[in-house]
Symmetry: C2
Subunit: 411 residues, 2 copies
């Protein structure tokens, strides 16, 4: 039989959200009358903005007429969308990003997962702990790690950077050699942010050591505070050390519609086996044109409409609604004396479990006694233990109901 | 600086279709009045079927209403689409494929490119020569080859299986050890097919040696002859040795709409480092759920409509139109005494260049003297030299005009 990629067997079998779904189903089966409220998975619930729906319908109609039909589009995305991205997300904030530094894709998950393919397998990778699992799992599959260590709750070879209440959720610059670091701000899962001085330290370190920062900014549209950078490219020197991932999933409710983009500056270089500098922008173009064929025209027109006047106004209202839910969660939990983080520049609220409860024990208690589903912090890494994530993506009514129920619990 | 994947530098710089585009642009710049007809790239030109447009518009509207909004869908695709695929493409032809063996994706290029990630990097890969470049390039990027050898026109370590007029375009079973073989029928670029006895030999060989066949069936809907299998799963024993890639790109004009699917039978196994059998269906699910987040709901509803009564009738008419163009090309070229292959079960016509002309010389002559763009066979591999591809994807009017012009040429 054919030999499979030996790295897949290092991956942990049970995925966080499938375990949550399993416990949830078991509870509902045993308590069919319980009105379970889900504040668990980070999925949006509000309908798409009318401007986006209109644009997709119009684009679908275009494809149905001979004179406006379009076949294969550019691998990197249509210029109309890349130019709208540059104008609205970069130029409008004073950043100098060019349209040929933008690569449109089907999701930030695909891109954060695949970007590591550009690097040597012996690169050392650093991630925060807790962390969005995709960064780690894709490096495991690529062979950049050793086995999973149950007691350490991590893979050998990965540098884990604790981000907890103790350090204000700001990861420390690694002391040893790191080639590739994944950062995420506003953070999934903690809902906390990295501010300019903190990001500047990371950029300076990366430029000094030759490391590359893979910056996940999928939650950028939830930023409310003035001193929180919307992009790593607001930081001086970032164009020679950073890649940024953005998504329409959370900014415009595209989780089921699928569109995102990645910014790879032309100044960003790596070094090949002969010691020559090579452009990561060129390499990503080569990767995308070989293993990808672009995003649907219909969807790209929908994404373009996110930047229209109506689209902006409609989505701003949706985001404001989610942020209002986050406020309700945060205030409600603080009312009962819990330690709460995030929820200000993020749809995620990250709480310290009362009485140092284990994350999964807190999950079980919340499900059984308040019929509320959240996400155990330990599912995101060892340093997520004794934390718990609630999301603001449900309706206002359900969010209020869930918080009222939680406030009745005895801890 | 960070060390990049050293395998990228092995990739040949100039991509076939960019070279074609370059020569075409240069010609048009020098001859602005020439009416150039493109029978080059394999891209569809007919508008989407009305049933597909309607379904996408309806789905977009659904996402715009709170009560029917959908967020993240299943990684492997919605059951409604996977069940329609099973019923129409497999059960209707007597094949026993289950819905959980179907993985919906954004394109057969993505899947034929990424499936190799499941295998050990020391696997030996075989491809036909000529070949669709994605199979080769993705294995180069993954490190399964040595350097490109200019004189051999191929990468060290890849087993090339000649498919030419001499062997009736049927690749010979490899004598040495091969772990993974890419086959494509109806073939891109040659337009020729593998029939049941030929495929049975491949399946028997794979089951005997433990090899895996990656079967690209993206052009299945163009099959007109009764004895040509529509799927490798019509062949006894295929479920223990084969994966099949299908696409809506050519069957329903989805090149710009983006939807495809891959069939990974549950019986199909590989072996891990400990010698244990592992399911490739499980591994592909793990890969997709980690590096992909599913296809847009809007697009999946469009793909589902391909299987509706109206969708089937509308697309059958479009395919018949392309096949009629292929017939015009084939008959016209035969009229002037050229050796012509394909074009019967395929939108591609593969011709032997007259007087043993080099493929690129024939390209230049066709462009300069008939103002027709085709694809040089040598762009698909060393054994494509002295061949040339014309596609049936233009309009009937342009196809006829192009052939009339070619018939006037002196060879």
């Amino acid at each position: 039989m054919i030999k499979v990629n030996p790295n897949f067997s290092k991956l942990m079998g049970s995925y966080l959200f499938s375990e949550i779904a399993k416990r949830e189903s078991a509870f509902i089966a045993a308590h069919p009358d319980a009105q379970v409220i889900k504040l668990g998975i980070g999925d949006v619930t509000m309908p798409l903005a009318p401007a986006v729906v209109d644009a997709m319908q119009k684009a679908a109609a275009e494809l149905g007429r001979a004179e406006s039909f379009r076949g294969y589009g550019p691998y990197e995305g249509y210029a109309f969308l890349r130019e709208a991205i540059v104008a609205n997300d970069y130029a409008a904030r004073g950043m100098d990003i060019a349209a040929d530094e933008i690569f449109v894709s089907d999701g930030a998950k695909s891109d954060t997962g695949s970007f590591q393919e550009l690097f040597s397998t012996d690169c050392t990778v650093a991630v925060t702990d807790p962390v969005y699992p995709v960064y780690v799992d894709t490096n495991v599959m690529a062979g950049r790690t050793g086995a999973y260590d149950d007691s350490a709750m991590g893979y050998a070879g990965i540098v884990y950077l604790p981000t907890t209440a103790e350090n204000g959720f700001v990861p420390e610059i690694p002391a040893g050699k790191v080639d590739l670091v994944y950062l995420c701000s506003p953070n999934n899962p903690t809902g906390t942010v990295l501010r300019k001085p903190e990001l500047q330290q990371w950029v300076d370190w990366a430029n000094k050591t030759g490391a590359v920062i893979l910056m996940d900014s999928a939650y950028e549209s939830f930023i409310t505070e003035d001193d929180v950078p919307h992009s790593i490219f607001e930081i001086e020197g970032a164009k020679t050390c950073a890649v940024e991932f953005r998504s329409f999933s959370k900014s415009a409710g595209f989780t089921g519609t699928r569109c995102a983009y990645t910014v790879v500056p032309k100044e960003l270089m790596g070094v090949d086996a002969s010691g020559a500098a090579v452009s990561l922008n060129d390499m990503w173009m080569r990767r995308q044109s070989t293993k990808f064929n672009g995003v649907s025209y219909v969807i790209q027109r929908g994404a373009e409409a996110v930047y229209s006047k109506d689209g902006k106004a409609q989505n701003a209202e949706i985001i404001a609604g989610y942020l209002s839910n986050a406020k309700i969660i945060k205030a409600g939990l603080e009312d009962i004396g819990l330690e709460v983080y995030g929820g200000v520049n993020s749809p995620y609220v990250w709480l310290k479990t009362p009485g140092n409860m284990k994350s999964w024990d807190f999950f079980d208690k919340l499900l059984a006694e308040a019929n509320v589903v959240g996400t155990p912090g330990s599912g995101f890494g060892s340093k997520g233990e004794h934390y718990f994530r609630l999301t603001a993506f449900n309706t206002e009514e359900n969010t209020k109901k869930a918080i009222e129920r939680i406030k009745q619990l005895k801890f």
